[in-house]
Symmetry: C2
């Protein structure tokens, strides 16, 4: 039986006010969208449709893509408009070629208070803290890994970039949409809230005293990551357990997103087998 | 005692034939440079100066940067010209702003024959095989991890991109310059040469039969990675040991460079402590 695809609303003019949220996408990336965000591509759309942290305001899909997306679009909540247009109109609205022809505008959920959220997590839980991570590729990559290994939450200090920036969502393959995240005013405030919820904070640094592979994760473990160059501030390292990943000879340190993947893989092995249903990806 | 910095040759005109190899850098990225490659930035330059796989043809450094680079430049081999220019001239030569003001042109070393190289490695050794990896960010990221964890060699099939493409070198933070790499005509030829040198080939796939964390690496281990979408071809998987990294729920697979980092970290723990002098990065 074919699935029920919601009726699409045809847009014929780039200046149609109903798709105003999709105009000049790149320029608005720079100035920000307040509580809104833009997601793009089929994989990210699939995550957006199954997550419950953020609301979907509308979709804007290239007309030729509609039949191929029927399975996904059947999951669109009632009352959310589905707009469609020709390639010419869609590209004129966005201001550049939308090759994949799949756009969505969402509205951020209220994250609530980090301490309360963390306290309600199961006895065994896994969190990530980010300090000074201003690069969207790195933050996107970290959220991708956080989702892949089932992290329960990400905390970001005030100088880290927005996980719902368009490029960060894309690089995260939707991980930024489905892992709850919270802001802290500073690196110390971030550590305070984790410790207040009973998390042992494992600060990653080339100078770390413990080696990752030898570490048995605490019941509630939080990995703390800083920028690739300067790393975490000394006064933050001083108050945490510090962990290193041994490397070969004199080579420069690892990329921070890669570091998050290695650390989460190790912590998840000990952790998530107990806490989450870890399963392999489906064959493809 | 101040180090001896080689005398710099001043370039005053963008059309000076001595710096012809630095003209129109982006356009030449696309058409290729034959046996030459371009490296950029201070960290990559430091790797270029200490590796012995490839020759340095010349350096081209912004005049204002020379005093700050004295320590590095003292390592320049005798007879290699060091060109310098004002920002205006340098940007006009390159065709776009060279913010860091550090460029080098190298000439690829002759890699020799992969099988012979692999056979000469120590009894315990670690290699990486790449199949169909056409993305410079991913290949650069994999070389960064290969260098960080002391992999002995990387083999690439004919459809994988050039590790000495300018962006791949940059993303690798110089790893592409210091890890020996070889081409194979096909994925099967690549597996053949690894097996011929006594390497057990561990093919990574979400469908892999063994879990990475449970795997004790063979003396000579090669990890084989395919593209993120289709993955390794079925007939390649069928002839290899297959390895998976368990993930949480239905989330999409990991980025391939992140996968290489997780895999190399695990294999290096068992491996390199015996084979290489593994040490922490210097404090900074």
């Amino acid at each position: 039986m074919p699935e029920a695809v919601p009726a699409a609303i045809r847009i014929d003019r780039p200046d149609d006010p109903r798709i105003a949220a999709y105009t000049d996408i790149r320029e608005r990336d720079l100035v920000g969208r307040g509580r809104r965000f833009v997601a793009e591509g089929e994989t990210v759309l699939a995550v957006l449709l199954r997550q419950r942290l953020h609301a979907i305001e509308s979709l804007f899909i290239l007309d030729k893509r509609l039949p191929l997306l029927a399975g996904l679009l059947a999951r669109l909540p009632d009352g959310v408009p589905l707009y469609t247009a020709s390639r010419e109109v869609m590209d004129a609205v966005a201001g550049f070629p939308i090759h994949r022809g799949i756009l969505a505008v969402g509205r951020r959920g209220e994250p609530g208070e980090a301490g309360a959220f963390l306290s309600r997590l199961p006895e065994r839980a896994l969190a990530v803290g980010l300090v000074g991570l201003a690069n969207h590729d790195n933050v996107g990559g970290i959220f991708r890994n956080a989702a892949a290994f089932g992290a329960d939450a990400v905390l970001l200090d005030g100088t880290s970039c927005d996980p719902l920036y368009r490029k960060a969502i894309r690089v995260s393959v939707g991980g930024a949409l489905c892992v709850p995240f919270f802001r802290a005013a500073s690196a110390h405030a971030l550590v305070d809230v984790l410790e207040g919820a009973g998390f042992a904070v494992l600060a990653f640094s080339p100078r770390g005293r413990e080696e990752l592979s030898a570490l048995t994760p605490p019941a509630r473990a939080a990995l703390l990551l800083g920028t690739e160059g300067p790393g975490l501030p000394d006064d933050v390292l001083a108050r945490c357990r510090t962990v290193s990943i041994p490397m070969h000879g004199a080579f420069d340190s690892l990329n921070v997103a890669t570091t998050s993947g290695i650390a989460l893989h190790h912590l998840a092995l000990h952790h998530l087998a107990l806490h989450h249903p870890v399963s392999r990806s489906a064959p493809r």
